[in-house]
Symmetry: C2
Subunit: 358 residues, 2 copies
């Protein structure tokens, strides 16, 4: 078989004319374009990257050839050489949670203004996933990461990678973050309930691993203290941000025979669950029980009655986060900083003064 003549090494088509017809059109290279246009690879590259430094005529010609042959430069090669991808990854725990959608919008707006593309990674709260996506940055497939988990510290590795934490933050991590002042935002919400005349206010907590949830709980407590209402620990129920958790929390409180005229929920989805559970038990919102949520997701406006909630500046959170990331990408020496935005109470239909009954 004289096993050498063929060799098959390299691109596998040195002849370049034998089987051209069958071969799919994928994978042209600068070299091919250069050959077809009778110029050097450098000129082709320049014609595409910085057209102004190539003479009008060759530029035209090269562009024609590129179009005719259908050439897309290999981004891997380009990025390898230039050491940047103009790609950033946004990590979100749960795409199903509409809260993040608008944050993403903000991120994308700023990203595009600066020539970055955004790719989304869903982590489902899994550390492994977070790591996997973070490694993409370490492996240079992306320039930076914005994470919306309360668990950034697991991410940064060797030296400081360009990471920004949005919506969440980590207690004493050296990482730039943008988030709202959850303590005071929660406080405002509970103050409002107090102002309406409520004194038995239940609280549905979020995952305790998340500092922002701890803050919301603290805001709730401080507000009660301000109003000189004794804190009843039995009125606090655990939750995990899901609609179902909201339902369960209410069922638990009711089955324990707790009495309350208002519920402050750590997010809107749990508030929706709470409303449903109350309705199921024949209790009316807001006549029997007032409900306040947190986040102001898109659906909050469309519950019946519409949900009173604390609106986070979602778009601004995203924009700000991306802004910080860009700063970091341009100069890896800027020190991490925390940016705190404020959130507003939006009063809709689920809150009213407590009724006489009960």
């Amino acid at each position: 078989m004289s096993a050498d003549g063929s060799k098959r090494k390299g691109q596998g088509r040195k002849g370049a004319s034998t089987d051209v017809a069958k071969q799919p059109v994928r994978g042209r290279t600068v070299k091919e374009i250069a050959a077809a246009a009778n110029v050097s690879v450098a000129t082709v590259s320049r014609a595409l990257q910085r057209p102004e430094i190539v003479s009008e005529i060759t530029r035209q010609h090269i562009h024609d050839v590129v179009r005719r042959l259908g050439y897309t430069p290999n981004a891997l090669a380009r990025n390898l050489r230039t050491a940047r991808t103009r790609l950033i990854v946004a990590l979100l725990p749960d795409i199903a949670n509409p809260f993040f959608s608008e944050v993403i919008r903000g991120i994308e707006q700023v990203a595009h203004e600066s020539g970055y593309s955004v790719l989304l990674g869903e982590t489902q709260g899994s550390l492994v996933r977070e790591q996997a996506y973070a490694d993409m940055v370490a492996a240079r497939q992306a320039d930076g990461i914005i994470t919306m988990s309360p668990r950034v510290p697991s991410i940064p590795i060797q030296g400081r990678l360009p990471v920004v934490n949005a919506c969440e933050y980590v207690k004493d991590a050296q990482i730039s973050s943008v988030f709202v002042d959850n303590v005071s935002a929660a406080g405002v919400a509970v103050d409002y309930l107090v102002m309406l005349g409520h004194r038995d206010i239940a609280f549905i907590a979020g995952p305790p691993a998340s500092p922002i949830c701890v803050d919301r709980e603290q805001g709730y407590r401080q507000a009660l203290q301000r109003a000189e209402i004794a804190i009843n620990p039995a009125l606090t129920a655990a939750g995990d941000f899901s609609i179902e958790a909201g339902e369960r929390a209410i069922e638990l409180l009711l089955s324990q025979g707790q009495s309350f005229t208002a519920v402050f929920c750590s997010n809107d989805e749990m508030a929706i669950g709470a409303m449903r559970a109350l309705n199921a038990r024949g209790l009316r919102v807001p006549d029997d029980v007032s409900i306040v949520g947190f986040d102001d997701i898109r659906f909050a406006r469309y519950t019946t009655p519409a949900l009173t909630t604390v609106a986070q500046p979602k778009n601004a959170l995203g924009r700000e986060a991306m802004g910080m990331l860009i700063e970091l990408l341009n100069d890896s020496d800027v020190p991490p900083r925390k940016r705190i935005l404020s959130a507003d109470l939006i009063v809709r239909g689920t809150t009213a003064p407590p009724s006489r009954r009960r």
Copy 2:
């Protein structure tokens, strides 16, 4: 001043030894590891890629060095060489739409089983965005794409790229697709309304550019024909899948003085909007008007009353789409095929027989 001295161009660190101390730990290379471990780069690469072909002792040693120095192989270089990224991009028009979340879950499950990572791109219906993400595949930054827009044909370029269309499809495009039988699913929904006794059934359409919406409308019409109900074009209102569109549609119909006892909506969000608009006008669901949605998004269960809707097999759609994509990635010659799943009507609380009144 003297605004030139700095220049700032290029990688900005040729010296490579002057400021080693200051320099962040980023960017080790096989070469460095090889030097530190006193072996060749080939051995390092092998120790990491196919440990079994390296002697126990060198493997150990190399792994130690890798860990000690903190080395992550440059994925760009690797992917460039191996011509695969093990990354796929899923394009969705709108992350805010909870329908897609579960489809994504399905995609991710299958992807991970086969060693792929999934990145999400939001297109917001913009062709430019779609192209940009599609170009990532052309530029070899990702191996394939699953798109959930009804506009695939804009994507594939030069030869057939690995593209699969999920949830939507394009009439006569040569692209693999997975979607439900929208005609019959819509038919079943309308049949049910008819069965309940409704004869004046309004329809809120989706974007006409989307074939699946055309199909849903066709299903609606066919069902009316089956029931020998004359089709009243004035009972069909345009929509764009948003909650607001649902509200507007109802307001339009009511302001035109149309009379109807049921509304079939092309998706759940418009159904939610419709419910709200009806409530705002003092009409009760389902007592005065029955509502049926489409998709069965997570929130459908939590409206009051809970929404009757057509459930798409979201997870299966995602799994199937990813399955097809993997097939394509393994063998680019498999011919495109369409896979059609079925959808089930879920009866909840927004449907009832028409009331005597009206």
